[in-house]
């Protein structure tokens, strides 16, 4: 058990609260930096996917996990980012500029989608965003002069300041750098008034308002930032896949993204990456497991969605905080060993929330 003696307000402003945590994050970063040398190329590629999905997760986490606005149309922002990048790269724009454009354009679309969010809540908002997802899907398929329609669009490799990032490792490092940068930006936001305003909106709109938080402004900001982050991930996604087509950005994909943040743990930065790792690793595990299952199950169609669904139900029922919640428990268990008591994380139900004025 560790006790932190706080002698300075700055201690609470630090991102890493104490030395031991600093050490572990340094180890993690070192491992991530060394990964391409230690792992076969295939795993580096999977790790790249985890980072890209992790960035999407951060975007969606900001919106759903921190601001409490559910979006079932996030694949559309991914698509906007991916297509912007693909088209601009084909026109020879330098990568930093085209990436910025992908983020900006997604943010602009995010603001447009965010506008109904000022009026509708909960399930109605998710339907509105889902409708938006359908629209974008359709636009991608029909606007053939720009998007290439259903036959898709080729995307070249990233060239950054004259270097071509054509190897698996170099692109991995690019994704790693962006993922770290975006994580830091998110952490900074969350320890500042804007991030707190998002959390306030999530927990009680009525009192957020009476604390002087402009709901319209902050909800729109949240949508814009979330879309921009997702757009950046979209740009990376386009370069990773090398060919993009509308069927990669369907509403099903959006739902998978929501599943990712819920399983990872809503309302935590860790959750975005845990969820991404889960989303990438699970299909592999299922493929591996297929060999050991009886044919009736192993060869059945729809095995993967079924397993996904079951796992989601399991998490919602038993671990609403997702993998991050489980991780917290394990960390506390180890940190307090051998004094951990059962029931330390027992969930309490509070019956004092008012539904007035909602």
């Amino acid at each position: 058990m560790r006790f932190l003696f706080k002698t300075d307000y700055d201690q609470d402003l630090r991102l890493l609260q104490h030395g031991i945590r600093k050490f572990w994050y340094a180890v993690l970063l070192a491992l991530l930096l060394a990964a391409p040398w230690m792992l076969p190329e295939y795993f580096t590629s999977q790790l790249t996917f985890i980072l890209i999905y992790g960035i999407v997760g951060l975007g969606l986490m900001l919106l759903s996990g921190y601001t409490g606005l559910i979006s079932l149309g996030h694949a559309a922002f991914l698509a906007v980012g991916a297509y912007t990048e693909a088209v601009l790269a084909a026109h020879g724009w330098p990568f930093p500029l085209s990436l910025a454009m992908a983020a900006l354009l997604s943010a602009a679309v995010g603001i447009i989608v965010g506008l109904p969010a000022l009026r509708v809540k909960g399930i109605y908002l998710s339907i509105a965003t889902m409708a938006f997802g359908f629209i974008v899907e359709e636009v991608m398929a029909r606007w053939e002069s720009v998007t290439g329609g259903n036959s898709g669009l080729q995307v070249g490799v990233v060239s950054l300041f004259g270097f071509k990032l054509d190897s698996e490792e170099s692109f991995y490092y690019l994704c790693l750098a962006l993922a770290v940068a975006i994580t830091l930006v998110m952490l900074n936001l969350l320890r500042s008034p804007t991030g707190r305003a998002f959390v306030a909106i999530r927990d009680s709109e009525i009192s957020a308002q009476s604390m002087g938080i402009n709901l319209a402004r902050y909800k729109t900001t949240s949508f814009a930032l979330s879309a921009a982050i997702t757009g950046i991930a979209g740009a990376l996604y386009a370069h990773k896949l090398r060919i993009i087509a509308p069927d990669q950005f369907t509403v099903l994909q959006s739902i998978e993204l929501v599943l990712m943040v819920v399983v990872g743990g809503l309302g935590s930065i860790h959750g975005a990456f845990f969820g991404a790792a889960f989303l990438i690793a699970l299909p592999q595990v299922i493929v591996l497991a297929k060999d050991y299952l009886p044919d009736a199950i192993g060869q059945a169609t729809g095995l993967q969605p079924t397993v996904f669904g079951l796992i989601l139900i399991g998490f919602v029922l038993f671990e609403p905080l997702g993998i991050y919640g489980r991780w917290l428990k394990i960390r506390t268990y180890l940190g307090m060993f051998p004094f951990y008591r059962r029931g330390m994380f027992k969930r309490q139900k509070a019956f004092m929330k008012s539904e007035r004025l909602k």
Binding site: Y9, D12, L189, R191, A197, S207, Q209, M211, I213, N214
Partner: protein
């Protein structure tokens, strides 16, 4: 000098006149209490001041400024803070974070500065923290600083909500039933704090309260309402002995 003036304010929901032509003035530095039976329109008046409902008619003037035409989130910026009858805290945040949200009206940093957490953002956070710590000391909350609100007992939540309202450094504090759900001891504390808020912090208080002991102890003036109409106004003693008030609470001699 009057800080808040309600000029014949009314609000009707469909055919129901929840507040009908109510006029009152809250003077700078006093504790003004609204009393009345359930459904008398006390909380509705609070919600009118918070601009959650639009006025059907009448005028609200705060600190020489007409509240008409403003949005609900602008009210806090003028210096009006409030608590809620049923506690509206940010459940999944710590007490400290809740109180820091109270400082939101004093935000000066730009989004870009916050994203990069520049020196200006850090300095602003420190300043917020100092203000918040003053309130934590004032209301005796250090013990709960880092606890999640979701795990706090009712009585403490009530104090945290009061603290959050104080963190906005308001000119006028609206307290909606500060003693509801509190035990005798906690109500005592609350009475002391309300007194201190007036005397030490110099904040004007407008409150809705049912506990007449608390009302007579802290209030300077009382306004009694029934069915959205004013039935009496004056010192606590005057209002309590007013025949109309007695009739409203106990029923008339038919």
């Amino acid at each position: 000098m009057s800080l808040l003036r309600a000029d014949a304010i009314s609000v009707a929901f469909g055919g129901v006149r929840a507040v009908a032509d109510v006029s009152f003035e809250v003077n700078q530095g006093e504790i003004f209490t609204l009393i009345g039976p359930n459904g008398a329109g006390k909380t509705t008046i609070f919600n009118l001041i918070s601009l959650f409902y639009p006025l059907s008619s009448g005028k609200l003037v705060f600190d020489g400024r007409d509240l008409g035409g403003l949005s609900p989130h602008q009210v806090a910026g003028l210096g009006i803070a409030r608590t809620f009858q049923n506690i509206e805290l940010f459940e999944h945040a710590t007490v400290l974070q809740n109180l820091l949200i109270g400082r939101h009206v004093h935000r000066k940093t730009s989004l870009a500065a916050e994203m990069l957490f520049l020196a200006s953002a850090r300095a602003a956070e420190r300043e917020f923290r100092e203000e918040v710590e003053n309130v934590i000391d004032f209301l005796d909350l250090p013990h709960y600083r880092d606890t999640l609100v979701a795990g706090l007992p009712y009585g403490v939540r009530k104090v945290v909500e009061l603290a959050r309202a104080l963190c906005t450094t308001p000119k006028l504090l609206l307290l909606d039933e500060p003693s509801s759900g509190l035990n005798v001891e906690e109500t005592e504390d609350m009475a002391f704090w309300i007194d201190d808020i007036k005397n030490d912090l110099g904040i004007t208080v407008l409150m809705v309260e049912h506990d007449m002991t608390l009302v007579s102890r802290v209030s300077d003036r009382v306004l009694a309402l029934n069915y959205g109409e004013v039935i009496a106004q004056g010192t606590p003693a005057e209002v309590q002995s007013h025949p109309g008030v007695i009739e409203a609470y106990l029923g008339g001699a038919a």
